[in-house]
Symmetry: C2
Subunit: 361 residues, 2 copies
């Protein structure tokens, strides 16, 4: 029979799937015994086990996870809610979480809020309704996001990347302020004095922290005046493009630019290219987030590298601990970033022979 009409290609009786009762009947045992074979939850005679397994094969039986979850009042599914799936920074975090989930024999469902608080709310609700075992989330907003309903219902929550909720949740973040400070100081060390700054939304802790770091570094310059030099954006490429355009088309454009994440950096580089400016001669650039192709850009881009995989890994371990019953006070893990210096920020030396890393920031 050809497979015309996928949907009608069912097994077993016309409607519904094969159940544990079907298997039990077919093997001449009780449903409980089938369950025991399935889960190895109790001793079952060899010959019986044999018969049951054969029945399972023949009927192509697949246990219904939904029923199992309902009965056991628990799931082996973790929820991971990230704020931008198109951002390689977050997908790298995902990889870290994934590997840990697998170690915990749990599966991961991934949702993407796309920096949109409404989508985020919807997905958090879905996760709560589906009673996932735990959730890792990078909040779309540090003002409007609210995973407390989950916690109130006993579902542990770990926050990543962005600070949130004043120590109410476990969290894994980067020392953003210090990292930004070091990045901007590096520009200063290269002789830059007017330095522009592009960060994401002011509702996101990373933006706030990175701006604070920028100000820490700038405050030490004489006659520092940031008017016209700081732009908030949307953490995405288009926003970075527009913000760069605004800053660079001012009467007194800066000599250097500090960009608060990878996608905005791509946008800013586009804007710089469109304006016909040369990097680093006309404008030096340092950006947050190392990407696989940072060194292949024209010119190679100086970046702040975050330990993304580890962020995911640590968050996942903490979540696993909570799911396992650990109930100490919320922990905050702060990881270090490092500055990777490349040609885009070098104003003094013309061409370094190799890319140099200035240790931990």
């Amino acid at each position: 029979m050809p497979l015309h009409g996928q949907a009608s290609q069912r097994i077993g009786r016309g409607r519904g799937m094969t159940t544990i009762r079907d298997v039990a009947r077919h093997a001449g045992v009780s449903p409980a015994t089938v369950s025991r074979v399935l889960n190895g939850s109790a001793k079952v005679g060899d010959s019986v086990t044999e018969r049951v397994n054969q029945a399972i094969q023949e009927l192509r039986y697949r246990p219904n996870g939904v029923a199992r979850s309902l009965r056991q009042q628990s799931t082996r599914v973790w929820g991971l809610l990230i704020s931008d799936i198109q951002n390689p920074y977050f997908t790298s975090i995902v990889r870290g979480v994934e590997d840990e989930a697998q170690l915990s024999r749990s599966s991961l469902i991934l949702c993407n809020s796309d920096e949109n608080v409404h989508k985020e709310r919807m997905y958090l609700e879905v996760m709560l309704n589906e009673r996932v075992a735990g959730v890792i989330v990078s909040p779309a907003s540090c003002v409007e996001s609210d995973p407390t309903p989950l916690v109130e219902h006993g579902i542990p929550v770990v926050v990543v990347d962005r600070q949130f909720g004043h120590g109410k949740f476990d969290s894994v973040v980067i020392g953003n302020r210090a990292a930004a400070d070091a990045a901007v100081r590096h520009l200063v060390s290269q002789g830059a004095r007017r330095i522009g700054c592009i960060v994401g939304s002011e509702h996101i802790s990373t933006s706030i922290e990175r701006l604070a770091g920028y100000r820490d570094a700038m405050a030490e310059l004489p006659a520092y005046d940031e008017r016209g030099l700081v732009e908030f954006s949307d953490s995405k490429q288009l926003g970075g493009y527009e913000a760069a355009l605004r800053i660079l088309s001012r009467p007194q454009p800066p000599e250097a630019l500090f960009v608060g994440n990878n996608l905005m950096a791509v946008g800013a580089l586009e804007a710089i290219a469109n304006l016909g400016l040369r990097i680093p001669k006309d404008i030096a650039v340092v950006a947050f987030d190392e990407m696989a192709w940072s060194s292949l850009l024209a010119p190679p881009l100086t970046t702040v590298r975050q330990p993304t995989y580890e962020v995911g890994q640590i968050a996942a371990r903490q979540l696993a601990a909570r799911i396992g019953g650990y109930s100490g006070p919320p922990r905050e893990f702060v990881l270090d970033a490092s500055l990777i210096v490349r040609r885009s920020s070098l104003l003094t030396v013309s061409k370094p022979t190799a890319e140099s890393t200035i240790g931990e920031v």
Copy 2:
């Protein structure tokens, strides 16, 4: 009370969550009525509706999606299984699927097989067990992958990006052979005669098709001999790096390189840089997959742009149709790619004024 001990921060009676019965009691009605209010499935008196809603608020009741799914024998959850979440090509497909899922009022759970057939099998099993409404998958292998168990259990499957199963499934793919042919022809038109080719695993249809397109174009050259010019890889950066190194360190290295996807291209560009070769003078490059930063590379990279968002969108619409009961024969959607010519492949003209697109391939 401080939030020490997240896990103990529960609501309602000590164990378990608030159920529909709790709400019913609290509002002085039957569970059935609460259900009706919740779903708007039947007329309920205004004052009763009021009382129920208030009880829901006060008790912070959240309906249990698991129980609902079990009872209704259906879910509003779609599964999306992609083969590499770190590849922006796939995450762009995700965006297309996501938006359609939202239109269908369904939520999306995303899984990442990481080009690993075992992980893929596990996730397909999870999706089957969780009885998702339908699945979109980009198979990790065209030999070992097997979503038929899903179809056999009445769960519709749409395949994206990679051909699979001889027309047994709905699928959305690109005209890879024609696109590769056009890309290589473009290199030939630039005067290249020895052209290297790096594609992914030979178990993936896209690799096979793109290699076929390469051969189509090369076969027209006199004295064509591909020995030492073709390398299979793993569709990832490291694989591309190593493959490029192998090809370029041969006695007679090629004058141009055709790379079968974005991540391998990044690796190949790295290898070229490490060998100290100049693009395009020493080696011209064309690669599959446009990326946001393709034009920012040194030099700007000539790419084959695939309509990724549309791939996801069309797959999602087809899935929605199947879930809605459509049962015609499997459909195959083939979309066109386009070549975006930039400096990396220009051997004749020195510097084009603007990036030019050579229509649809």
